[in-house]
Amino acid sequence: MVRMILDVDSAGDDILAILFASRHPEIQLEGVTTVMGASGSIEQATRVALNTLTRAERDDVPVAAGAYRPIVGHSEEDMQAPVHFEKTLHDRFGERLKGFNAPAPKPKRPADGRHAVDFILETVRQNPGEITLVATGPFTNVAMALLQEPDLPKLVPECIVLGGTFHCPGNITPVAEYNIWADPEAAKLVMNSGMKLTIVGLDVCETNDAADAMLTRDDLADLAEHDVPLAGYLVEFLPIYIDIWREFFGLVGFPLDDVIAVALAIDPTLCTTDGPLFVDVELEGRIARGQTVAYRGFQILPADGPRTAHICTTIDGRRFVSLFKNTILGRI
């Protein structure tokens, strides 16, 4: 059994990560915390998390709302880039996009009264060494927790993060992945904290080298054969995601980035990793800001950070997708 807090920004694959974490019998989901990111606002992120847990019949899992903005962020113009991208998608897909990050209906229960940072700190202080943190959105909440509690790295056995890219192109700039880019200062703080980190970068999800780990229409056909409400929900909402990632990112399926991060908590053998090594975040410039840099090999200019990161290098894709589908179908 793995005890887990899942920190999400409630974009498409975060929803799948919440479903997976709340339905897998070997995960004890202590809570879901939300952060401003790809879903556009903290209110939307929190509503989606609550509604997703209702759908998973897990209204017993608390949801705590977190940071509503990054520590620094970017120019107004660049911060709006994801919004403009959504407009491009609307122009291309029209009506089909109606369900894509649609304004979430009012949840049937309220969020936990605590701020996400307090939820994380209180839970890990009460259970030192017990709770794995899985962060699949920008790292603002984890960074704020570190700013209030320098001992956080000692209180959690591991933090598994979806963020960064090391070999393949970024998805927000040519060298930066969205979660890191969305709050580079927060990501740098986390990478330099000394916390044990497993980093799921784009190398094992958003490249066709990891095609086996993506969800395809074939997988949806498999899910459609079963009379399971959650499976029916995925069959309904995922086709547009598959099409977007096919057309705009050139990927053969829908990458399950955030689900991989959650799945690694219960089965670390799903990915091969490189480490421990130091990963730093570039803060300067416009294009390079948010780039993740892994210190491997030998360089004359010394690195001065903690060697605590394990970066994922390959993934056993079909085994992972089977695990995902079986979890959704309740066959584990």
């Binding site: 509503y68 520590i71 940072v117």
Partner: protein
């Protein structure tokens, strides 16, 4: 009616004097004190806040310990106050008081939330606590009447002035959050605080006070002036007390509105507070900058608060 304030500080000799003034003024209701790293590490600034408040008998004022590092940069300590942060009075007894169980950021939110009327925040250290407060608890902003902070430098009219002032330099990211917070903010910067210098005439008056408190303040100032004397050849500048005094008597300073941006990227100018005096950025004014000070009236107020 006294003015409710919260002092967020990194004592620091001049912070300590601001604490003394705030507690002794009948016109101020000191709701709480929060500490931050800056002039010294958080352990030291918190210890100093506790023992200063003990020494002046401010037992009823809650003290909450705050951030141990800036939001996004390694901590660079100040150099004016010695390793303890209060080297002028090494014998000042330790306090056996405990700090509040809440982190300063959460204590600030709780005090503001519970306050019957809006409170004035007086930050005299790096703005880390206030920045984190606005990141975590933006809902408390309407409960802040205004922020009167010691920080920044805008006119740089002589070689006394580096491009940056320490509090902003220490945590520029936090300062950027504060100036863009939408909360009415007055920046009492080096342009005015470097005009309230403790020189021989001021020492003369302070020596005449002759109370135990007066002696402690003298000891603080005797140590505090070393850095100023050694680097710039002038007496100690009462940076933080001036910010506090400006709350007590706003007529001590003149201010002007401006849009201020904090440089986060410069190699040697990060932390510079750059005012747009002519509206070239086409952005609305976000702070008021202190432009001049009546030093004589400031010192009169200081002496009066130390004597009464």
């Amino acid at each position: 009616m006294s003015i409710p304030i919260i002092l967020d500080c990194d004592p620091g000799h001049d912070d300590a004097i601001a604490l003394v003034m705030a507690h002794r003024s009948p016109d101020i209701d000191l709701v709480g004190v929060t500490t931050v790293c800056g002039n010294a590490p958080i352990e030291a600034t918190t210890r100093n806040a506790l023992r200063v408040m003990d020494f002046i008998g401010a037992d009823e004022v809650p003290i909450a310990r705050g951030c141990y590092r800036p939001l996004a940069r390694p901590l660079r300590l100040g150099t004016a106050d010695g390793p303890s942060g209060l080297d002028g009075t090494p014998g000042l007894p330790d306090s056996d008081r405990a700090v509040e169980p809440l982190h300063a950021v959460d204590a600030l939110a709780a005090w503001l939330h519970d306050a019957p009327s809006p409170i004035t925040l007086v930050p005299t250290g790096p703005l880390t606590n206030i920045g984190l407060l606005f990141l975590k608890h933006p809902d408390v902003k309407p409960k802040i009447k205004e922020i009167v902070l010691m920080g920044g430098v805008f006119y740089r009219r002589s070689e006394y002035f580096t491009p940056t002032e320490f509090n902003i330099f220490c945590d520029p990211e936090a300062a950027a959050i504060v100036v863009d917070s939408g909360v009415p903010t007055t920046m009492v910067g080096l342009d005015v605080t470097m005009q309230v210098l403790v020189e021989e005439p001021q020492f003369e008056v302070l020596r005449e006070i002759g109370t135990p408190l007066g002696q402690v303040v003298l000891d603080w100032l005797a140590f505090y002036e070393k850095l100023h004397r050694g680097t710039m050849g002038v007496g100690g500048a009462l940076h933080d007390p001036l910010a506090l005094a400006a709350v007590l008597d706003p007529s001590l300073i003149e201010t002007r509105p401006a849009h201020v941006a904090v440089d986060l990227r410069g190699t040697v100018t990060f932390g510079a507070t750059v005012a747009d005096f002519w509206g070239e950025r086409e952005l609305p004014d976000n702070v008021r900058i202190a432009t001049s000070v009546d030093a004589d009236r400031f010192f009169a107020l200081l002496y009066q608060l130390l004597r009464d």
